[in-house]
């Protein structure tokens, strides 16, 4: 094999951090995003995946906490829980620690609902509990006994060691002008509820069936159907019945202001299945991280990766490994992930 798994892992983390910096900067984190992406950012999926990958960059993690301290109410926790119900994405222990920190502020009281139960840790078996001592939030900043006085008490209460960080208060609310921030713009108008995602979905797809919309925005089909029926009474969302199915659509010319400065109605930003993409990458990363895998045979590495990918059928949407076997599978899989990550981090 051309590159070792260790190099692959290192490059994966670098690319994911690059990607996360860009996404968070686009929604108001203190930093700068040079390239404006042409997709819609999913705040909940982004927060979840960051709870795992941002652990590799203490500065990014600190800035995310700062962003949440300003914009915490723009996160739709119901969606966080719905996404977690379906996908083993993010790090539940870190999510709980973040929530514990936020809900100290009475503005963010809703974050008290973040728990093992609401994060469905039993379903995914990913409730990481420290048996003794503390789990390091940042693998590069391991806990030492003399660091105890400087550790963050909220994180420590959930079993995580993190050095205390001062929030800089530099984060901004998401800009309504960036195409990536369509969901935030909708939330500002419709509130932090399913109507915002329904509108964002319709603006990017124009028409769809309630079940399909519900699946993509991670809500229950019945509640989306009834919300769409209500929204249709505005006359701005049109309900069409074809055969037995009821479809809902918008007329793009009714909504020019909603598409933002740079994006015409004919070229809306792309709706990406972020929970699926992030989970696929995280599963890949977790498998690469398995103890002893570096020193195993390539065939064994291939088998372990295949076992993981096969257990989650949606990973196939990003892989071209179907007809490969043995070490060819490994090489194809590594190339597929390289391509996927390159798409996420253009330039």
């Amino acid at each position: 094999m051309e590159t070792s798994l260790k190099d692959t892992k290192r490059r994966l983390v670098e690319q994911m951090l690059d990607f996360l910096w860009r996404q968070w900067s686009a929604i108001g984190l203190a930093g700068h995003a040079e390239i404006e992406d042409h997709w819609v950012i999913d705040p909940e999926a982004l927060l979840l995946v960051s709870s795992e990958f941002a652990r590799h960059d203490a500065r990014l993690f600190g800035e995310i906490l700062d962003w949440l301290d300003t914009n915490g109410n723009l996160i739709n926790l119901k969606r966080v829980f719905n996404i977690r119900k379906q996908y083993p994405i993010g790090n539940p222990l870190v999510m709980k620690a973040i929530a514990m920190k936020l809900c100290k502020n009475s503005t963010f009281i809703k974050w008290k609902t973040v728990s093992d139960k609401s994060l469905h840790t039993a379903t995914h078996g990913d409730a990481q509990q420290p048996l003794d001592g503390l789990i390091d939030l940042f693998p590069k900043l391991p806990f030492t006994a003399d660091a105890l006085p400087t550790c963050d008490e909220d994180f420590r209460a959930t079993g995580i060691y993190s050095p205390r960080a001062e929030l800089r208060g530099m984060s901004q609310p998401p800009s309504p002008h960036a195409a990536t921030n369509l969901i935030f713009k909708m939330r500002a108008l419709f509130g932090c509820n399913s109507r915002a995602e329904i509108m964002a979905w319709l603006l990017t797809h124009r028409s769809g069936h309630p079940a399909q919309i519900a699946r993509d925005i991670h809500y229950f089909s019945k509640s989306i159907q009834s919300t769409l029926n209500e929204m249709a009474t505005s006359g701005l969302i049109i309900a069409n019945r074809s055969n037995r199915e009821k479809h809902f659509r918008i007329t793009p010319s009714d909504w020019p202001a909603f598409y933002g400065n740079h994006h015409q109605a004919g070229n809306p930003p792309k709706w990406q299945p972020w929970p699926e993409i992030f989970t696929t990458i995280q599963l890949y990363y977790q498998t690469l991280n398995q103890q002893g895998l570096d020193s195993s045979s390539e065939l064994f590495q291939a088998a372990m990766l295949k076992e993981t990918m096969d257990a989650f059928p949606y990973t196939k949407n990003y892989l071209t490994t179907e007809s490969t076997s043995g070490t060819d599978y490994l090489q194809t899989l590594l190339n597929d992930f390289q391509s996927l990550l390159a798409e996420l981090t253009p330039g």
Partner: protein, 246 residues
Amino acid sequence: MKKWSCPELPDSYRRGNTCYTLKNKNLTKQPKFTLVTSITDVIIRQVSKNQYSDALELLSEFLAKDSTNYPVWLVVCGSAALQTHGIIRRATKDVDIFAERNEVTSEFGAAYPLSPVVQKAIKSVAAILKLPENWLNASTSFFQLPLGEYPAYFWSDLKDEKYGSHVKVSYLSPRGLITLKTLAALQRDAARDTLDLIALAPTETNMQEALDWCLSTTVDRSAAAPQIATLLTRLNHGNLTQRYQA
């Protein structure tokens, strides 16, 4: 009729002159000849020696992954054993486990059923190498006689090979294989058994001990006499025919 429960068997299995089909994990008797209904019925993925060596090495890595797993020591018969002795070169459909051995005492024991850990590892290996799911199976062990009924020479001159830290294989000796192939040739009348026997080039003594054992266990002398005669003639031991007349 008698039904056997055997979850790891392929969908159909022949015993003697009867074909059994696996339905709801029960073997039910089927007509000997059935129509081939689709192309997939006739395509059987084959395993070459290199491939099953790789597969056994990988199986070992899977078992070693968990420190609570014990190494396994398998006794293998069939085409895989013939290949290991350099007797045949053709690829095999699967690797047949004849028995298991105790890692500490080296004693032999029944291999069927394989432990769930081994069965899971076999499936994982099959998935990555695109092998049949039962590429390594103990079906032979399920159908065979109690191990104590096999002659003593079965358990000697085994060829041991190690695959990684957790899989050891004892391949049956050519002498044991001659006996098994003779039994198979008399029971199922498949051309490949006779061809394998020809490749094994048994001596007169080998054939005598094999036939004597077969007749002392499951083969009916009067019914098998014509088959024995044909077999001995094909093996250039026609002079033994008289000894095995009904």
